[in-house]
Every structure is written in structure tokens, then in C-alpha cells.
């Protein structure tokens, strides 16, 4: 058993595409790491950037936000709005010298079980390389 560092990745998945994609990965018996803590949201645009920030400041190794591909949103345009909101948060992170690499936006459709597994694996590896989230040890936040 691998006793190395296993990050926790908060994954906010839109219920129409990415969460179903994650389901498909499971039912297809694809392997992806246990680091992914999946949460279902109605739409990726429902996620206030502050929730991503909260996950990050609470010590999540990574924060993954995933929704339908642009143009495929169940609500037609939700993910276009997600993209803009995410861009703002990422810009704020970069400007403040926080690790914006711990934030990830991904588009995964309901039929893309393998893509979900791939994103989960790759992102976990990436976070493993980055190590623990430093906010985990900060008393004064």
C-alpha cells in the first residue's frame, strides 16, 4: 500500500455532465484515486468563487470545478458564466501570490468516464508534486 502523501481534492461537479461522467467512470470500473471528494452541484455556475476559496483556505490540496463542455450546458450558458467567474478568482490568486495551480477548471461530459478518470489521476499527481497546501498549517487566516 502506498503510504505516501495523498492529497484531498475538493471536486465540485455539475450534475448533468461531470458528476454523471464520474459515475460512468465508476460503473465502467475505471481506476481513479480516492483523493477526489466529489460533490454534486446543479450547475458549475452555481459555485460562488468564494466556495472554491473556502475549500482552498481550509486546506484542500486542490479544488476541481467541472462542468459541461462550453455550448453543452444543461442551462445553455451556465458554463460560460463559470468560465468568467473562475477567471476572476484565478486572477486574484495569481495577483496575491497564492497557488492558483491548486484551482482547476475542467469540462467533462456525461459520456466521458475515461476523461474523468484521466483528469482525476493527472490532477492528483500534479497536486502530489506540489505537496501539502500551506494553508493547512496557518493559524492566522
Amino acid at each position: 500500500m502506498d503510504k505516501g502523501f495523498t492529497p484531498r481534492i475538493t471536486a465540485l461537479l455539475c450534475q448533468w455532465c461531470s458528476y454523471t461522467g464520474a459515475d460512468l467512470a465508476g460503473t465502467s470500473r475505471l481506476q481513479y484515486p480516492t483523493s477526489i471528494i466529489a460533490m454534486k452541484v446543479m450547475c458549475s455556475s452555481r459555485v460562488d468563487p468564494v466556495l472554491l476559496l473556502k475549500a482552498y483556505l481550509s486546506g484542500s490540496g486542490g479544488v476541481l470545478l467541472a462542468g459541461c463542455h462550453p455550448g453543452d450546458c444543461h442551462y445553455e450558458v451556465g458554463n460560460y458564466h463559470t468560465r468568467r467567474r473562475f477567471a476572476i478568482l484565478k486572477a486574484i490568486f495569481d495577483t496575491l501570490g497564492l497557488e492558483s495551480a491548486r484551482l482547476k477548471l475542467s469540462w467533462i461530459s456525461a459520456s466521458e468516464g475515461p476523461k474523468f478518470a484521466q483528469v482525476a489521476n493527472e490532477y492528483t499527481d500534479e497536486i502530489k508534486k506540489m505537496g501539502e497546501n500551506p494553508s493547512k498549517k496557518k493559524m492566522f487566516l
Binding site: V77, R83, R84, F86, A91, L96, G97, L141
Partner: protein, 382 residues
Amino acid sequence: MQGASLKVVDGIKSVVRDFLRKALESEAADAVLVPVRTPAKDSYAWILTNDQAVLDEAGPLAPTMPVQGAKALKSLTRKGQGTARVIAVMRPCEVRAAVELSKLNQVHLDNIILLSYDCTGAVPLQDYVGDPAGSEERFDSMLEARKTEESAVKPVCGICVDFSLVDSDIHLGLIGLAGESALLIPNSEKGAALLEAMGIACEEDTSGWMQAVSGLKAEREDKRSKALAETGASLQGFDGLHAAFADCVGCHNCQSACPICYCRQCYFDSEVARRDPAALLDTAIARGGIAFPGDRVMFHTGRMAHMSLSCVSCGQCSDACPVSIPVADIFSYMADLTQATFEYAAGRDDGEPLPLRQYREDEVEKVHEIVKGAEEEEVAHE
């Protein structure tokens, strides 16, 4: 662009008062919204009035800004435009905040005539309360000299680039003009109609004033980018953020003074934002300790994510801070950056949609750059 030349005999404030008086007399407007010095003489309040006697007492250009004008306008028009035509005398930053709020459906500008002027800056509220008479004097001398004294005004006023004509209906041009003249410039159909109804002809050339304004603007832009870069340099990483907000007492005054923060229930004041007491000890053990009040960095950074796109750099947050954190400088720094991402400027134009209310399928370059990872995957997927 043309304007009407006005003669300044008894100071700039009386020019504005005379104009308002005339507007009420000629029934071109039903009421005015102006700052009036409080009876205790140590502050200003927004007063809605059509009484000439009250108008005589009005600022109507106030040295300090206890309440952002856009907030007063919000109280007046939050349920719709109403039937009264009101002239609101506001600083350019207040006008810009009103424009932002109108985009957010919190203010209705249809029956409001925004009258702004070349602003020389606002005296910090604490300075004013500490020395009202001295502050009045300093402000008056700045106003008449039409020149900002940086030591007398809020830090963000010294680096303000939108001190002159913004998206108001009527503008009073002062900068670069001789001491006894001022220019009344219509800046919208509504403004032009009001001046016409009052029988004010606008035939004066404004190019001299415009030139002086753009000269000062260029100077300020340079100063602003330098000052804000300095602010930004100290804000790096957790340690920088913690140092910047180390004194924060968690009062959220910055949020309640902010004209843009209009939510009735702020997320950060809500129950869900409070940590679960049962989990606090676990967090403390994991982190080695936990500070109270907590989540200060989250509050400020989160507020940046929520409102920086509409931030007008008015500096009310700094005025409201009881421990003198330069909140306004920090937020202005962030606002300039996030607004540039979407090639947007808060309050610039009421026809310009809010960046988060619209999107482009093929996004502007900077957004692409920022969300690159997802877009690259997208290309690979295709």
C-alpha cells in the same frame, strides 16, 4: 462638446446652489439630493429637499463623504424610478457607483439627474470629525484653487483618475479654467433637456478644459499605477495577506460602507460562513492553533471576488475601517486588475453590461489565458 460658461463670484459652492435654486424655481426639477452639514457641524448628511431655505444651508459640495451618494440614491429609488425628477449632486466616484448599482438593478436613474463636478478629493472622515472647521477651510481652498492637496485627502483621491467627467448628466468643469469661470456641460440627453428647460444656452467651447483634464489624468494614471504596484508588492502570499489584514477586527464595516456591496444578507455574515464549533478544535489541532476572529483572509479575498469588478475606488472602506487598514488601496489594486481582465471599467458607461452578466463564446484573450488548462483540454478533446 460644448458647455455654458458660468461666472464664479462668491465661490464654486454658491454657483452650484444658484443652479439648483434656478432648477427648482423653473420647475425643471422637483427636488434635489445634496449633502447638508449636520446641526452639530461635525459631519454631512444627504438631504432630499425642495425647500430653498434648506438649499441655502446645503454643502452642496461636501468636504467629506460619510455616506456614499450612490447609497442615498439607492434608498430613494430602490423600488423604482418614482415620479419626482431629482437632481443629485455627487462626486464622480459616487456617480460611477450609482451607474454600477443601476446595472445591478439597485438604483433607477430614469428620473434622476446626476450632477457632478471636477473633484479635488474628499477629506478622510476621521480627519474631518477630528477638525471640522480646519477641514472645511482646507477643502474650500482646494476647491477654489481647483487643485488637490494630497496630504488633505484620502489616499485613493490622490491617485484617482476619474476625477472629472464621468457618466453623469451634467458636469461642472473647473480644472484649468480661470478663477472666476466654470463650465456647465450637458453630458446626456436628459442633462441637455434640463439645461434647455432652464434656458441655459451651451455655446462655450470646452477644449481648454478638456485639455487640462486629460493632462492631469495622464499624470494621475502614472502615479496610480506606481502607488498601486507598491501596494500589490506587499500583498504576496499568505504572509503578505496576513500582514495586510493583521489588525482586522472582523467588524465588516468596509463591507457595509461599500456602495457596491448591496446584498441584504452578505455571505460572510451568514450562518453558513461561520465555522462549526465542534470542528474548531480539530482544526486547531491540525494547524497548531486557530485564531479568532477567524477567516479574515477569506473575508477580504472573497469580497474581492464578489465586488472588485464593480469597485469604483471611492475609498469608503478605508474611511470605515476602525484600525486604519488601507482597504481602499488594496481593493483598488485588485479592481484595476480584474476589470482590465474583461476590458471593463466600473461606472464608465451605463450601456456597458456587467462582465459577469455576459459572456462570449470565443472569450477575450485574457480570459482564455487564465483558464488555459480547461481550454487546452477542450481542444485535445475535439
